[in-house]
């Protein structure tokens, strides 16, 4: 068997692939956080719970309504995104004039409620969600075996990330959004409905989290706590990348996923903590994050 640095290539590429998969989720989730933070100045602590809701709604659609994976991929982000819109209208919109920390506390409370409700209903054990038949199986690339579904996750999240970047940086709607991030009062004065834009932005960020949840459902078990620990890692990813740049958060997400995967190969004991250690190092030398600017 071929080896690199004393590690069989199969294991190395296998972990690299898992790293890329995790990185896809880090990228999708940190992107949603960054989009929401840009306009609302709120760190959405509910993001992990909304990711979990995405997976759960997909599971329920499959078991109760018989709707498959592809339907879920289209419908679930809209459904969960709509709950985000309701949360924004009913609660978050009351907090914009206050210290931003209250937004964090409110969304933390919402996360506790949502996760508690799902745990009451479905317990803590994971529920299986089968992957779409079209993507079952895999192909042999010569140096490793690549399951089709995993390849799809990486490609799909890359496409969604780049599409989001394109909308925000290259379209007219995106330019309104960026302008409102800089100076909402001025944009409002130009006749653009900024409050509605804020609502839809929150809904969009939540939809991204739900989309990630649907994609995660066939890989990880669907369970009420699936987003709780993940969101803390994503926070660290956001601190490392800095929230100033969309491309920055995509790059950091994938990069850190890969680094985490490699750590699993070379020093497995540290694989849980490596991202936090990197965060500490980045804070020492570049407190604003790799792609951020400190205001």
């Amino acid at each position: 068997m071929t080896e690199i640095f004393g590690v069989p290539t199969q294991a190395l590429f296998g972990q690299l692939l898992i790293g890329l998969i995790n990185g896809s989720f880090y990228a999708l989730l940190s992107l949603g956080l960054a989009v929401i933070f840009g306009l609302l100045n709120i760190i959405n602590f509910t993001h992990g719970a909304q990711y979990m809701m995405g997976a759960f709604v997909a599971y329920l659609l499959a078991s109760k309504a018989g709707l498959g994976y592809w339907w879920s991929l289209a419908v679930v982000p809209i459904v969960v995104g709509f709950t985000g819109v309701v949360i924004e209208r009913l609660m978050l919109s009351k907090l914009y004039k206050l210290d931003h920390l209250y937004g964090l506390l409110l969304t933390f409370g919402l996360a506790l409620i949502i996760q508690g409700l799902f745990r009451n209903e479905y317990g803590t054990s994971g529920l299986p969600y089968s992957m779409p038949a079209e993507l079952a199986g895999g192909r042999n690339l010569g140096f490793m075996f690549l399951p089709n579904y995993r390849a799809w996750v990486i490609v799909a999240s890359l496409v969604v990330c780049i599409a989001t970047w394109f909308i925000i940086e290259r379209t007219k709607l995106g330019s309104y959004l960026r302008a409102a991030t800089e100076n909402p009062a001025m944009v409002q004065a130009f006749g653009i409905n900024v409050p509605r834009m804020i609502t839809l932005t929150y809904g969009f960020g939540v939809a991204l989290a739900a989309f990630a949840g649907v994609m995660a459902a066939p890989i990880y078990q669907v369970s009420p706590q699936m987003g709780a620990d993940l969101i803390i890692v994503v926070f660290a990813v956001v601190v490392i990348g800095g929230m100033g740049s969309i491309l920055g958060s995509i790059l950091t997400g994938f990069g850190l996923g890969v680094i985490e995967g490699l750590t699993k190969v070379f020093y497995p004991e540290a694989s849980n903590t490596v991202i936090f250690v990197i965060m500490a190092i980045v804070l020492m030398f570049k407190p604003a994050g790799l792609f951020g600017t400190q205001k």
Binding site: I43, L104, I113
Partner: protein, 307 residues
């Protein structure tokens, strides 16, 4: 100390002296440990404006430190508590130097992430015994003559520690140091332009908060004779935020009231499983949306007196 606060202090002290006649003392000791923990947390958010979402790491570190020192090394209780508290202080220094580099929301995320790192460390380290925790920690004999196996000796030791910590925090927030801290919270730029080295003040406040949170954790380990992963988990960090928020951010007595309410609530809802988190979440939402002054803050506002 204004008269209203003198009265409140008297009421609080009298309550904790008399309550064990009617209420289970272990429950009251738990409440006092968490009250001290919440007061330490409040020092940072209420007077320094820094929201830490990782205070469980200090509670957990001190409780593991004290439990390990008492059980494995056979330290007497006073040194076990001192050792646990010192461990938390050291961790406070290390994480504080990193966390104060960013403000506001970033500060919260960084402290949360650092605390998660510490949690994973304890999950894997051998001396914590993983999911089992350090069990059957001996309470020992305080100063060589007070046997803490006696519940009353333990109770009044915890009471003394709690009151000492509480009065120290009171002294700090009413000192010139506390005033500068408030100035930094209100307007950081202006405090800088007045020549204050704000990072030193923030670090000191953070360190003090970590140390006192550690004192609470070390004491708690001796009371329950147990140090476990629960103390270091992020949900514990969330709980102390909730206690302080419910009692009243930036009030002197709020965290004590908040801790007492939350601990009682958990006691009564314990059979209901996941409902505890739901109720906690609902309290968070209600507090943030309509009740931002907290219980003690509202009472103080109604009496028009600082509490």
């Amino acid at each position: 100390m204004p008269r209203s606060q003198k009265i409140a202090l008297g009421v609080m002290a009298a309550f904790f002296v008399l309550a064990p006649l009617a209420v289970y003392p272990v429950f009251l000791m738990k409440a006092m440990c968490f009250a001290l923990f919440a007061c330490a947390f409040n020092l940072l958010i209420g007077f320094g404006g820094l929201l830490s979402f990782g205070h469980a790491m200090f509670l957990g570190t001190a409780s593991y430190g004290a439990a390990h020192a008492a059980k494995v090394w056979g330290f007497p209780p006073e040194f076990a508590i001192l050792f646990g508290t010192a461990a938390a202080a050291l961790l406070g220094l290390a994480t504080g130097l990193l966390a104060i580099r960013r403000q506001g929301i970033y500060f919260a995320m960084i402290t949360l992430a650092l605390a998660q790192m510490i949690y994973f460390f304890y999950l894997q380290a051998a001396f914590t015994h993983g999911e089992d925790g350090i069990q059957a920690v001996p309470r020992g004999v305080l100063f060589g003559f007070i046997d803490l196996a006696n519940v009353w000796a333990m109770y009044f030791t915890v009471f003394a520690i709690f009151m000492a910590g509480f009065l120290l925090i009171y002294r700090v927030i009413h000192s010139p140091f506390g005033q500068v801290l408030k100035a930094i919270r209100e307007n950081e730029q202006r405090a800088i332009s007045l020549g204050y080295d704000i990072n030193r003040y923030k670090l000191l406040a953070y360190l003090l908060s970590a140390t006192l949170a550690g004192l609470a954790g070390a004491t708690k380990a001796l009371v329950f004779q147990l140090a476990s992963l629960t103390d270091a988990h992020w949900s514990m960090s969330g709980e102390v935020v909730l206690m302080t928020l419910l009692g009243g951010l930036g009030t002197v007595f709020g965290p004590v009231a908040g801790a007492f309410i939350i601990i009682s609530l958990e006691n009564y809802l314990a059979q209901l499983g996941a409902w505890v988190t739901i109720v906690q979440g609902v309290i968070f939402v209600i507090c943030v949306l309509t009740f931002r002054r907290g219980v003690v803050g509202e009472i103080g506002n109604w009496l028009k007196k600082p509490l």
